[in-house]
């Protein structure tokens, strides 16, 4: 399970932004985060991933210490058993869809099987520049999932996907949540989405996380 209590500060030239994030995500559970644009949701994910370093506090995952300001520990992202799906461009332009999925594939399933599962086999040899935004997003989701992470971090993962297809992705997430006992932290503007898949939700306001019952 993920437990974190961190302070962070962005020395923005326009305003000082202070954050205090306190959250817990159980093993094999999906936690949602929502809030207005610019509230700091992506920042939270980046801090948990290790791409930014908090000012103080701790981030623990099970027995592993990912960050502890008192013990001066900051584990680099590579060593944390997670994967992060970003909003926007993230597929590697020099590799095909299939190669992108194979990049960190740790799931035991081949990229061909993954693509087949989502009816995306016809995209296997295509380079990311020749995919639509929705297709890019779906492939990026598969790539993050294929790593078989203990913690999956998703930043607006389904925003460009058709409503009819979304159900498949919710199903997949829930499936691997059970099979791999994987924890998920998902950011979304879509409250319906979060209500459908999450066991708990937080609202991010004024730099703080509020538990949503």
């Amino acid at each position: 399970m993920l437990k974190a209590d961190i302070h962070y500060h962005i020395p923005n030239r326009y305003e000082a932004l202070n954050y205090h994030f306190e959250l817990a995500v159980d093993r094999a559970s999906i936690t949602g985060i929502y809030g207005i644009s610019g509230a700091g949701k992506s920042t939270l994910l980046r801090l948990v991933a290790g791409l930014e370093q908090p000012l103080s506090g701790y981030i623990n995952f099970d027995e592993a210490i990912w960050f502890d300001s008192k013990k001066q520990i900051h584990l680099e992202p590579q060593k944390r058993q997670l994967s992060l799906m970003f909003p926007g461009k993230q597929l590697f332009a020099n590799m095909s869809v299939s190669q992108n999925i194979e990049y960190a594939n740790n799931s035991g399933k081949s990229s061909a099987d993954w693509l087949n599962q989502f009816d995306l086999t016809h995209l296997a040899q295509r380079k990311p520049d020749y995919l639509s935004q929705g297709e890019q997003q779906r492939v990026a989701f598969i790539r993050a999932l294929a790593r078989k992470p203990q913690l999956l971090l998703l930043d607006e993962p389904f925003s460009a996907i058709n409503e009819e297809l979304k159900a498949d992705y919710y199903q997949t997430l829930k499936h691997y949540q059970q099979e791999w006992q994987m924890s998920t932290l998902i950011i979304s503007h879509n409250r319906y989405e979060l209500n459908t898949i999450c066991q708990q939700q937080y609202q991010l306001t004024n730099g703080k996380l509020i538990v949503d019952i």
Binding site: A49, R80, F92, R147
Partner: protein, 219 residues
């Protein structure tokens, strides 16, 4: 007309470009991605040869490596290696002089890449070196090729540094010097032959390299 200057010019351009390729990639990586506060000083040093008159550079290299004093004398006495007035001196001078022509395109190539490439790779568990080799470098291939073309062409045309550091020896008489010599001796037809052939060769090299880049290397 001697053909040896052609051989020397090509040899100098190839060796210089090869050395620059090897040094510029780690340098560009550091300047592009390091968060060190003083890195702008390093960047300025690497850009200096662009604004420095070649004869100034050649002069300081001559002083540094002159076999009559300091470093140059020590090298000569210890290793019997004389850098001033030798081909290896030209290589050192060319590498410094053409550095910005290899470094700038590669640096630009790196900074153009979305930061999500590295971040995605790291969060997928891949090391910095793995990311550099499997993602960053393949994506900057056009920039690397541009750097190679520019530094090669630039070295071919080098004159000021060679004039200061090369002396008047057969082993350092590249085509640009040969042209100068022939003009001094008023052998204008010889000078023209050298000049025209260098012009045509450079032009054809640039066309061929750009064609290769646009057809076979996807950006």
């Amino acid at each position: 007309m001697e053909l040896y200057p052609y051989w020397l010019s090509l040899k100098l351009a190839f060796i210089t470009s090869a050395i620059l390729l090897v040094i510029s990639i780690p340098l560009a990586y550091y300047i592009a991605y390091s968060k060190h506060k003083a890195k702008f000083i390093l960047e300025a040093i690497c850009t200096l040869p662009l604004v420095l008159p070649p004869t100034v550079l050649g002069y300081y290299l001559l002083i540094t490596f002159s076999p009559n004093q300091g470093l140059g004398a020590w090298l000569k006495n210890t290793f019997d290696w004389q850098i001033a007035f030798s081909f290896s001196g030209l290589v050192i001078g060319s590498v410094i002089y053409s550095l910005p022509f290899m470094l700038q395109p590669i640096l630009h190539g790196f900074t153009q890449l979305p930061s999500t490439y590295q971040e995605a790779s790291y969060t997928l568990g891949k090391s910095k070196l793995f990311t550099l080799c499997r993602v960053l470098l393949p994506c900057t291939k056009p920039a690397i090729i541009t750097g190679c073309i520019l530094s090669f062409a630039h070295t071919l045309g080098e004159f000021g540094v060679v004039l200061m550091l090369g002396g008047h020896l057969k082993s350092t008489k590249v085509v640009s010097i040969a042209i100068y010599d022939e003009v001094q001796m008023m052998n204008y037809s010889q000078a023209n032959q050298y000049a025209l052939s260098l012009l045509i060769f450079s032009f054809l090299t640039l066309i061929a390299a750009n064609l290769f880049k646009s057809r076979y290397v996807k950006g």
